[in-house]
Amino acid sequence: MNASQSAGALHPANEALTRNERIVFNLYTISALLVFVLMMLLGLTMRMAQSNWAGVLPNVFYQIMTAHGAGMVGTIGLATSAVMWFFLRKYVKLSLSIFLANYVLFMLGAVALLAAVFIGGYAGAWTFLYPLPQHPMGLWSGNAAALFMLGYLLIGVGFLLFYLDVMRAIIRMYSNLGRALGLQWLFSGDIDKSHPKTVVASTMVAITNSIGILAGAIVLVMCLINIYFPSVALNALLVKNLTYLFGHMFINASIYMGVIAVYELLPRYSGRPYPISRPFLWSWAASLVMVLIVYPHHLMMDYVMPHWMLVMGQIISYCAGLPVFTVTVFGALANIYRSGMRWNMPSRLLVLSMFGWAAGIVPAIIDGTISVNKLMHNTQWVPGHFHFYLLLGVLPMVLALMFHVIGQNAPSRSSDKLSFPLYILGGLIFVFSFLAAGHISTPRRYAVHLPQWLLYDQFGSIGAILLIVAMLVFALHIVVGLLRSPGNGDSAHATG
């Protein structure tokens, strides 16, 4: 290990958790891990049902699908917000109470969602696309749909509180959000190389996801009114626009919060500086705008949409790939190339995360082409690409931080030597079985599959099993590590 990779550099003193911070951080991470495993098991159940390897009634299948979607999207948001909080608190003074309030509201919301689905029978998918929740055909009540929406509102309020606190703290430190984004250096001037990438990314996420969550809240309130006062009819196209603006924004914010782990940790493991640059600032400023206006690529099959919006959806989908490929992934690869990188769980997971993001974006961008979308929209191509960059991209970012925090800096243990490749192998089998099935037009969200689709489902199930075994090993390892006495770099703050 060279000097820059010493324990002090890996775990700087200003990153140590106080006792209270550690409690809240552990609540986030352990809850997220447990829910991830549970939601993966629900996902496996669906793939097994589609494979004809498990008997699941269609109404139960669609309940599971609803819980899996809402659970995974929410939990990846929860876990990546913990990543952002962990690093951002070094640069600005965040409120621990508000971070805890976000967790409490999330849990209350999660209970409401689970009750709506598994007690109330709600199965309107995580997207709650109007007017499906109001048209259950006798399978769930208006109250169950309302409870589901109330759960979302609770979770949204928690995130919004957190983002407001983030923006408050950033403004207090940097005067305004524009300076935190580094807009003053976009065209000229000497960039302050010590300006944290974490602050730039966090500012972008706080702005954009607050807007996304507000769009979601508007839809939810409109739908709640419609449930109890059906005469207050809604415009299905307007609601669809707002719903996808919210959904797209929320999941993208998760990626942008997660990638902070790469910016912060990768240079510590490579031992090479990873400074801020003008292209970096440009990429985040451009992403701030693009992430808000790219959502029409979800509506390409709604031909009544203004066609300029669909053109915008395609072109911005292409443009959104530029910052990923030319700045973040390229920068990460340049950072580790001939760096003398020391391989262990955090560094391996960080590199995997960059691969998953970059490779997963390929089928996503291709599907962002209108003429391709005509053939691939709502086939299994879609879960193929989003599982690619979530499962092999974003989740490894989160896991990298968790392994880093528990002090997994030594060369891999024997269990890691097995679980890490197993995770990649299972993940690749799982996502490629979706993509291959999408290639032969297998629809997504079908409880019952035709015989010609079963082979892909069975491969998908096998991949999911391998992946879940690896995830269980990871989760066990991390939970034990977190519950042990505080690790590296914590001694000064252990009693907080």
Binding site: D302, R338, A358, L375, V448
Partner: protein, 177 residues
């Protein structure tokens, strides 16, 4: 080559190239070199890489958007056949079940209740085209069938407990078998 296969090949090539770059970088990562020199070279490569991606994006966008792949929703129809399609939980109603090959057809697609996806599967069980069926709106889908045979309509927008069973068929007649 059918479009699905082209998309598949393009995707595998793209993912394959990304994988090769990562494997090469990972293999090289353990051999330390001067950081300043690496960064300088990387910045030069990045400039060209950025330019290549922009040119690729502009070229592909132009090629795939001209002519625009979606029919003008307001212009009067040039189609020789018009089929009205209504989706509801969980069935399709088509105004006719026989369509002539080689003659442009316009599907006027709407829904009576929730969102549905109107996807047409060809005799080879692959999607040939699709649009959404949305309450309160009518999407006009233009297509010219070239191959006769049985075509299947499946719902591609989740619409409730019998979503997977929302299937109907129509026949394309004439043209080259």
């Amino acid at each position: 080559m059918i479009l699905q296969n082209q998309i598949w090949l393009l995707t595998l090539t793209g993912i394959g190239l990304v994988s090769l770059v990562f494997i090469w970088i990972i293999v090289q990562a353990g051999k330390p070199a001067d950081s300043a020199q690496v960064q300088k070279t990387a910045h030069t490569i990045r400039r060209w890489w950025f330019l290549a991606l922009v040119l690729l994006g502009v070229g592909v966008a132009y090629a795939t958007l001209k002519p625009f792949p979606i029919a003008d929703q307001n212009a009067s129809s040039p189609a020789g056949q018009i089929v009205d399609v209504v989706g509801r939980q969980w069935s399709w109603t088509l105004s006719q079940n026989q369509i002539k090959a080689g003659v442009p057809v316009q599907f006027n697609v709407t829904s009576l209740d929730v969102n549905h996806g109107f996807a047409i599967y060809g005799p080879n069980d692959l999607i040939v085209t699709q649009t959404q069926a949305m309450p309160g709106f009518t999407n006009r889908l233009h297509y010219t069938f070239t191959q006769p045979g049985k075509y299947r309509v499946m719902c591609l927008e989740y619409c409730g407990v019998a979503h997977h069973g929302m299937v109907t068929e129509f026949e394309v007649v004439g043209g080259q078998p």
